[in-house]
């Protein structure tokens, strides 16, 4: 073996330096604090790190951040050009996840899944985008009193003073915070509350899970949410529970997807998932059978299932159509026994109790009551009482943290009126939002990437959050201020550390290791004693009236709206409607017809929609309408999270605030709807909703056929005609020329599984973050100029199923029939089948885009990528025209440093999120997915440096890495052992538009449906 001299030291026979170097895996220390040493290196590291980045940030405030700021003290852990990763956790009251943070030169630039974590490990689009909020120009720069910046000491003293006065004349103060599932925070707050006896702590979830919490408490004695492991499920009956996005905190999709892929491992079986719901949700779109029903019916359905399982009689009958499906569900639940589960999102204690009891009858393995979730804790009654007390003046002071009740409370206006005039108001916030802007004391709190934290998301599942950057501004985290208020000289970090060492850590796992992992699991939890409770299932059901039921829901992109000033999320197309930059009323096709509400396309294709007014006891809002196939007739959908007015730029102030209608924290509201004048301009990136019966776009079949018939029946190899002889498109026969030799070196393929992909869109944001994809704004999206490198196409069936569409199209012979059929196929069905298809550049081996470029700016790489040389591109757009998949994106304007596009690329702070490995494209050039060549090259070079072979698991693209559902497999097909090679050989493999002979390197896995027709 060749030996390279690293230095003279090696000449010595015995050199401890050489030995040390050979022993140590890493030349530099990993920033992990060694167990008990006093001078903690990682704190110092953070100091240096902090200094340099704040310096950068400050420099940023005057000039371009490109102006390099040299490290005064080069922190040993930072090697310019090499990324550091830190495990931490996000717990913003809505999203609770364990994550990895990628930092470059001390800047956090990307959020990734913490794959080692056992739970809460699938980040959604919002979590992925949360890094951008760190660099929001609207963040508070420091603490304020009456609108003036003050020092923290001054700030704390003033608060102390105020609190003293209030406690002396014994005035009530409410501490209103997000759900605190942090053990240490709880400790601190206990001390705080005992010191200030007049303060009462209320936890508040903007989107309430109170009913589910109450139910669980009633039955199992602790206030928590049951957890579920859908990977064990064989039958999933969901009654209005959108568990694939945000139901009860989400993070269930990875489990769900595990049972959705029929393969040798599970002897070609897959779970059965039936969804009863009103809105078209992500879960409904992915269900095998989806049954639209309005809320009152939903509760009946639940009751009937309950009675049929328990034998308890129920009064009131169902309409026959629903009854069929109830029977089916019951049959399935029974047959799957312990492998079945029923879940529900109905905001009703009684209903939630039924759910728990049903799963108890079933003795379901899927539901996990031993270790329930603590990520929601709000109690509606408490909050309603608080509002009463506020109105009746019983409360004279209020402290808020991490929440924005002035926006998210149903009675936000009244709240703000009272809040303004309270004697003492203190609010911890990152922005001057609706609430904090009127608070007397404004505590500038840190972004979670600048903060410490510890959480018990569920019993025994502990997570640690650590700063990945020193606070960019003069901000503190809520806990540190509380500590100083109770006169402790420690800071939150010390508290966490001691608390963990004394109370949490056990079984020999060190603090340092836990910090590095970001989690600690303690399975020694004693079982909960179950207090079975007879449930009265005849509690009055809201009977169907001629009013509409408004069903409020959190949007995948926006959640409870605390990230509304995040440009990535604003431009993130909703997986179902594919509308960006807006929320809207969703209405069933038939209702829209009745009410004469229209959606139509204007001359440049952009989507317009009528406005409608919805009124619910004395409140009324006017919102644009999207006609939503699959929406249950008689129901209206409207999403939370929009219509914020403060702490964000004008571009972001879109949509309408649905919290105004969130009366009694019930997502179901009785409303009246009527058409009003005027049309709304939507920015929708998919203007055509059906697949027009084109069978080469998405291939799908049913589980039955998949298991009984041969591949050639349900996924035949595409045949093309050569000299009038049908020839396999895969055979070299059909090529005009000899092919290039692709057997040497790496050859990358990406496989996308249409069964496990549920369209959540985490990949879209991950790609945006990784590849510096610009945000172009509502107007440009409206002009069909979105820049996303990966998009998730969503198709509705026009008949009942997509298969029928294809059949119908094939049978349309003769001009008249053909014309009428295809016109009909443009319209989606009332309750369509839905399919999601992520589309990025296909990296065709015979790429149509490459041949037409006059300046050879795009050509094929040796590793199979279709490459763009941005600085060679002259921008003829011929490649984009000739791309059958329309994945190429053109820089119509310069999107960086352009006041017309005032998003994160237009300010030095926002630019700190840029990935230095990827260029920001200039105006007039074409861009598109690169298969994250910067990542693959990194892997190759690292392997080369370390003199080892690249291992299969090293290969990742941003999208495949972000996909927690295993829908995306990326790797080297020249490595016959790799997972991708195996997947590629599988029967389900097909390529989009294969008959064109483009030979794509992105392959798809045929969708298998498990739908049951009755």
């Amino acid at each position: 073996m060749k030996k390279y001299w690293k230095g003279l030291e090696q000449l010595k026979v015995q050199s401890d330096i050489v030995d040390k170097l050979e022993q140590n895996e890493f030349v530099e220390e990993i920033p992990v604090e060694k167990s008990e040493d006093k001078n903690s290196s990682r704190r110092d590291f953070l100091k240096y790190l902090g200094f340099s980045t704040t310096a950068a940030a400050i420099a940023g405030c005057e000039g371009p951040v490109i102006k390099s700021v040299p490290y005064v003290v080069q922190p040993e852990q930072i090697i310019p050009g090499v990324a550091n990763y830190y495990a931490t956790a996000i717990a913003d009251g809505n999203d609770f996840r364990s994550i990895l943070v990628k930092t470059r030169e001390g800047r956090p630039i990307k959020i990734q899944n913490n794959k080692d974590a056992k739970s809460f490990n699938c980040s959604n689009a919002r979590v992925n985008a949360s890094v951008l909020d760190l660099y929001d120009t609207y963040r508070l720069q420091g603490p304020k009193v009456d609108g003036n910046y003050v020092s923290w000491d001054d700030f704390n003293n003033q608060i102390k003073g105020n609190l003293e006065n209030l406690i002396n004349d014994n005035k009530r103060i409410v501490l209103l915070t997000q759900t605190q599932c942090s053990p240490t925070t709880k400790l601190i707050l206990d001390k705080f509350l005992s010191k200030y006896s007049n303060i009462e702590h209320i936890e508040y979830d903007a989107i309430s899970s109170s009913s589910a919490l109450d139910a669980f408490e009633n039955i199992y004695g602790i206030r928590a949410l049951a957890d579920y492991d859908f990977s064990k499920a064989e039958t999933i009956v969901s009654v209005d529970a959108d568990f694939l996005s945000d139901w009860q905190g989400g993070s269930y999709s990875s489990g769900w997807s595990k049972t959705r892929v029929p393969n040798a491992g599970n002897n070609n079986s897959m779970s059965y998932h039936i969804q009863f719901e009103s809105n078209m949700t992500l879960s409904g779109a992915n269900a095998d059978n989806r049954v639209p029903a309005n809320p009152s019916e939903l509760k009946k359905i639940l009751a009937h299932i309950y009675s049929r399982l328990s034998g308890q009689p129920v009064n009131g009958s169902l309409n026959p159509n629903l009854d069929k499906y109830v029977d089916l569900s019951v049959k399935k639940l029974k047959s799957s026994g312990t492998k079945s589960v029923l879940i529900s999102g109905i905001d009703d204690v009684n209903a939630q109790e039924m759910v728990l009891m049903i799963n108890d009858f079933l003795n379901s393995d899927v539901i996990d009551i031993e270790s329930p979730r603590f990520i929601r804790n709000g109690r509606n009654s408490e909050l309603l009482k608080m509002m009463e007390d506020l109105k009746s003046g019983k409360i004279s002071g209020m402290i808020t943290s991490g929440i924005n009740p002035g926006y998210s409370l149903p009675e936000s206006e009244e709240f703000l009126k009272i809040f303004k005039n309270l004697e003492f108001t203190l609010s911890f916030s990152m922005k001057e939002d609706e609430t904090s802007r009127v608070a007397k004391f404004l505590g500038a709190s840190s972004h979670y990437l600048e903060s410490w934290g510890d959480y018990e998301f569920k019993t025994g599942h502990y997570y640690l959050a650590q700063p990945t950057i020193r606070p960019l501004f003069d901000t503190k985290q809520f806990q540190d201020v509380i500590l100083s208020l109770i006169g402790s000289d420690t800071n939150f970090y010390d508290e966490i550390k001691s608390n963990w060492k004394n109370n949490i850590l056990s079984s020999g796992k060190t603090w340092g290791k836990s910090l590095q992992d970001g989690f600690f699991y303690d399975y020694s939890q004693n079982k909960l004693s179950i207090r079975r409770k007879r449930i009265n299932i005849n509690s009055p059901f809201a009977e169907r009236s001629n009013e509409f039921s408004l069903v409020l829901y959190p949007k995948v992109g926006m959640g409870d709206g605390q990230r509304a000033s995040n440009a990535w999320l604003q431009e993130f197309p909703d997986p179902i409607t594919r509308v960006t930059w807006d929320n809207y009323i969703t209405l069933s096709i038939s209702d829209a017809k009745k009410l004469k509400l229209k959606n139509y396309n204007v001359a440049n294709g952009a989507l317009n929609g009528s406005y409608a007014k919805i009124t619910s006891n004395s409140k009324e809002i006017i919102a644009p309408v999207i006609i939503q196939p699959g929406q249950a007739p008689g129901t209206i959908g409207l999403s939370f999270g929009y219509g914020k007015k403060y702490g964000m730029s004008d571009e972001m102030k879109v949509g309408i605030n649905a919290f105004n209608l969130y009366n009694d924290f019930n997502k179901i509201q009785k409303v009246n709807i009527s058409k009003v004048k005027g049309d709304h301009e939507f920015a929708c990136i998919q203007l055509h909703n059906t697949m027009m019966g084109r069978d080469e776009v998405i291939k799908e079949t049913t589980l039955e056929i998949f298991n009984t018939k041969d591949k050639s029946y349900w996924n035949p190899t595409v045949m093309v005609s050569k000299n009038h002889i049908e020839t396999k498109v895969t055979s070299p026969e059909v090529d005009i020329w000899r092919d290039f030799d692709r057997s040497i070196g790496h050859h990358f393929n990406l496989s996308i599984d249409l069964n496990s992909c549920n369209g959540c869109g985490a990949c879209v944001i991950a790609c945006t973050a990784e590849n510096n994809v610009p945000v172009v704004g509502k107007e440009e999206v409206r002009r069909s100029r979105d820049m996303h490198w990966i998009r998730i196409d969503r198709y509705y069936s026009s008949e009942d199923t997509i298969q029928e569409d294809i059949k119908k199209a094939e049978e349309a012979k003769g001009f008249r029939k053909y014309k009428s059929t295809l016109n009909a196929l443009e319209q989606a069905a009332e309750n369509p089948q839905v399919v999601f298809q992520p589309i990025a550049c296909m990296h065709c081996n015979h790429a149509p885009c490459e041949t037409v470029c006059p300046v050879a700016a795009t050509s094929h790489g040796r590793q199979g990528q279709n490459q763009m040389a941005y600085n060679r591109c002259v921008g003829t757009r011929y490649c984009a025209n000739n791309c059958p998949y329309k994945v190429r994106r053109f820089n119509w304007f310069s999107y960086a440093d352009n006041d017309e596009f005032d998003y994160n690329l237009n300010n030095p702070l926002g630019k700190m999120v840029l990935n230095p490995d990827v260029t920001v494209r200039s105006r007039g050039v074409m861009e598109k997915c690169t298969l994250c060549i910067q990542k693959t090259q990194k892997v190759i070079l690292d392997a080369k440096r370390d003199g080892r072979k690249v291992t299969d698991k090293d290969w990742q693209t941003a999208c495949s890495d972000a996909c927690s559902d295993g829908a995306m497999v990326f790797g080297d097909v020249n490595d016959k052992e790799s997972e991708i090679s195996k997947v590629r050989e599988g029967d389900r493999t097909y390529r989009v538009l294969e008959s064109l002979g483009t030979k794509p390197n992105v392959i798809y896995q045929t969708k298998i449906r498990n739908n049951i027709n009755i």
Binding site: R738, N845, H846, A847, C849, E850, T851, S859
Partner: protein
């Protein structure tokens, strides 16, 4: 005995042609004929050799073709063969069909331009070149024969008049002065 040049003007192309025939019979020497438009058969009666410019054009065309082939072979195959849409950049012949259009264009380009250039050079036509036609009317409606006078000028004038000349002008040769 001094020899002078005569500029004989005619106002009709047919008369001009007959006149030239007659003059040729008399073995007078014609230096040059200026006409406002091409007259068919004029070159024959004057006994001019047919021009070989079209042969040149063919050769130029061949050059253009060769240049095209060499250029594209160098650029696409030799210098930097890239994988462009899977096209066989490793073999000129296999990739050739894509090159045909440009081969043709280059052929035409070279043939046309080089031929015209040759024509301009041989006929002394280029910008700022002074016009040499002795009488401006020859671009309008007059036809002029520039010939050497015989020994007997008057006899000649009579003869030319008979052929239909409109006017006859005697140009003193400058060598007579010496």
């Amino acid at each position: 005995m001094s020899k002078n040049n005569l500029h004989v003007l005619f106002d009709d192309d047919d008369i001009l042609l007959d006149a030239i025939k007659k003059i040729k019979e008399k073995k007078y020497h014609i230096n040059e004929v200026y006409t406002p438009f091409p007259i068919h058969g004029l070159d024959k009666v004057l006994g001019l050799k047919p021009t070989r410019i079209s042969i040149l054009a063919f050769i130029y065309g061949c050059i253009g073709f060769t240049v095209a082939v060499l250029m594209m072979n160098y650029i696409m195959i030799d210098d930097w063969p890239q994988n462009i849409g899977g096209k066989p950049s490793f073999s000129f012949i296999e990739n050739m069909p894509a090159f045909v259009p440009i081969m043709f264009e280059m052929t035409v380009f070279f043939a046309a331009h080089l031929m015209v250039l040759t024509f301009y050079m041989r006929s002394k036509l280029w910008p700022f070149k002074k016009a040499e036609n002795p009488n401006p009317l020859t671009t309008d409606n007059m036809f002029l024969i520039d010939m050497e006078s015989g020994d007997n000028l008057n006899k000649m004038k009579v003869f030319l008049k008979k052929t239909g000349a409109v006017s006859i002008e005697v140009i003193e040769r400058d060598d007579n002065e010496k």
